[in-house]
Symmetry: C2
Subunit: 425 residues, 2 copies
């Protein structure tokens, strides 16, 4: 099996290194020697994390996808323009493709998967979600007996690192972001990570494989972590929760909801204890119940582990040609955002006049929202009360209407903060 690799950076270099160090083990598993014969790089004079002996380098990636001797192309370059053209060409030329590119799959996966099927070749992308954690294979194979009701994942390591540091050190978002950038965990432009776009790409893939429907990135409601304050993390801890940036997809009686946002999770849940740069995905099936998959979501060798697992599946003939692992995709309408039911956390800053809490709870009660927990912190120098409330299970439209009413009260000193609470039950 001849393999061409597009991109020899962190992931590509990791693939070369892991194939070298585990050659004997992989051959013992598969009976096959898997070797990289060609690689496309941007700059052939650049220094790399892997040796390139025996690999023919080129700066023209088109040469590889058009090379009649190449059987499998590994797309590990990122981006969605050139990479799309290259993957299309490879598939049209009858080559299997393994990609680690979540942006490409989330935004162009439907057409690329159809193209792969039409050409009788595989397009696999285990590495695109949660790095080395075999979550896509688990959804496709291990959980194939289930109707999947929910996936909920910590699928962006940078965001999880920042939230963990904010909680454990009581620091503000901006200070921790700077620290993450200094450590190399966050990019100079952190938008993709902290505003949830990267997590939304991964959620689009998870939801489609879980429910068996087309990829629908555009329908994901996405909110980042940049508006989480250290007051929120402190209140969450006090109330018995941890704030995590979750990608959540649910199939509620045939209606799908997909959302990426900060979420309070009860500290008793395993997912609330997934800290630092680690990733984890909880999957709830209607037979198996709740299962969880945890591991490194990034890094050269962890990501390479997933890329090579796809390669081995192709080599052994154990990969499925079905699109997203489904013989027939279903069509599920998106649930309107106002209809999404959840528990909510509200944080309010109110002038400490008599009857403030009574006024707030009266507004909530008028919408049939009950209060499960409330914490009021001591009055600050401006004579304001800091209040956090956990509600019962209500519709997003209902909580938003209540917030609008509360916001109109004279005693409210700043915009009411609302965060989803996921009990994961």
């Amino acid at each position: 099996m001849n393999i061409g690799i597009l991109g020899l950076g962190t992931v590509g270099g990791g693939v070369v290194n892991v194939l070298a160090k585990n050659q004997a083990e992989i051959e013992r598993r598969t009976g096959l020697q898997i070797q990289i014969t060609r690689a496309a790089v941007r700059d052939s004079s650049q220094s790399r994390i892997c040796p390139t002996d025996g690999i023919l380098l080129t700066q023209d990636a088109m040469q590889i996808v058009n090379d009649a001797n190449i059987d499998v192309v590994l797309e590990l370059m990122g981006g969605t323009d050139l990479s799309k053209k290259l993957v299309e060409t490879a598939l049209k030329n009858g080559k299997h493709v393994v990609s680690a590119n979540k942006a490409l799959i989330a935004t162009h996966g439907n057409e690329l998967l159809a193209l792969a099927k039409a050409n009788g070749v595989h397009l696999l992308f285990e590495a695109a979600v949660a790095g080395g954690v075999p979550i896509l294979k688990s959804l496709e194979q291990g959980l194939s007996a289930n109707k999947i009701e929910m996936v909920a994942g910590i699928i962006n390591g940078t965001g999880n690192f920042i939230l963990t540091q904010m909680r454990d050190k009581g620091k503000d978002f901006n200070d921790v972001l700077q620290e993450a950038q200094d450590l190399g965990y966050a990019e100079a432009d952190p938008t993709f990570d902290v505003e949830g776009i990267d997590a939304a790409h991964k959620l689009a893939i998870l939801a489609s494989m879980a429910f068996g429907c087309q990829l629908n990135f555009a329908k994901i409601s996405t909110e980042g972590i940049s508006k989480i304050s250290n007051e929120d993390t402190a209140f969450a801890t006090e109330l018995g929760y941890s704030i995590k940036h979750l990608g959540i997809a649910k199939n509620i009686d045939g209606q799908v909801q997909m959302r990426v946002h900060p979420t309070l999770i009860p500290k008793s849940q395993l997912l609330a204890n997934v800290d630092g740069v680690m990733n984890a995905v909880l999957v709830k099936g209607n037979a198996v119940g709740s299962t969880l998959y945890y591991g490194a979501g990034a890094g050269a060798e962890a990501t390479a582990s997933a890329v090579i697992a796809d390669l081995v599946d192709i080599a052994k003939g154990t990969a499925s040609l079905d699109i997203l692992g489904w013989k027939t995709l279903g069509v599920f309408p998106n649930q309107h955002k106002d209809e999404i039911e959840s528990v909510f956390y509200l944080r309010l800053l109110a002038a400490d006049t008599a009857g403030v809490l009574a006024d707030i709870t009266a507004i909530l009660a008028s919408k049939n929202i009950s209060v499960e927990a409330v914490v009021q912190k001591q009055i600050d120098a401006q004579n304001n009360a800091h209040i956090a409330i956990i509600t019962n299970f209500v519709k997003t439209g209902t909580i938003n209407a209540a917030i609008a009413d509360i916001q109109n009260k004279d005693f409210i000193q700043e915009p009411v903060k609302m965060i989803y609470v996921e009990t994961l039950d």
Copy 2:
């Protein structure tokens, strides 16, 4: 595809129920209608958890494994005598077999897998380990790029329930066992669960799939939880650990160690937070790092989820015919028990005479064992000191020699308790 089922109890009934309720979903995934046509039961007049319409019942299981119309046999009856004969016959007759029977696979798997291969049929057993958690498929497929260095699992729900209750309620082993029996979590004869035999069956399977070697149940060193006292659980909590009953297999430079025993795990590790009847397996690969798989280890529908997943893999043709997922099995000698390196917890009851701690630490120091943490509880009515010690990383032979020396001291009032500590790093 015609399926015959052996045993229509909890698991068998669960399979029938899950196939019925998820029929549309499974057909959408596979393009196939999977149906049970025959079932062998001990007593056809018994009441069941599933409907039996359309299933031809028999009390003679041999009829099913010899039925030319049956393509796949589900062995869900348990035991190792009759079930072995039935599985052998089914395989010789060219039928695929899916089994949930860990005892059968752990003790007769080598010959049965060879028989399956010789007959060109599958013998799959995802449900035999950790119920619905797709841990075997993850080892075989998702982690195929890795040299697996360690598996460490909470793989017996009954034991984990008992240890969790002991910790959270400060109760003694026997009280909690009684409670577990009353709740139906533990059998009337709880030996298999609390003495670690069930966990050892599962560990044998995990180790063989992880390392790619023959099943070797006889070589597992097994210790149950019946000797854990509530003093141990309290000390563990005070020292920042949780006591879990783990199955641990490591491949240390080509030498394998397999052991089932109570283990102190740092509370900061996800595995230490897996409570109640839940199961979880941590797998450390040399590319992916540490990954963890969590879910229900028992129950009708959770176990059925794994059985049907195997069935779907056979139906779709995505299962591998290789034994244990390996083209070539390796041969790894077992590491001698004395050579196993670990951190240790020691608990001592000593007469509160001057210099007791100095004497104990002098013995440890004489064997190059250093003390990482020590807690001494207040003197009891008998004027005895209760002492717990966490050591550094040393060989089991070394700690045992030190314990023998300590035990010889006049001030020691009862046998020194030793428990392995796994940092999971």
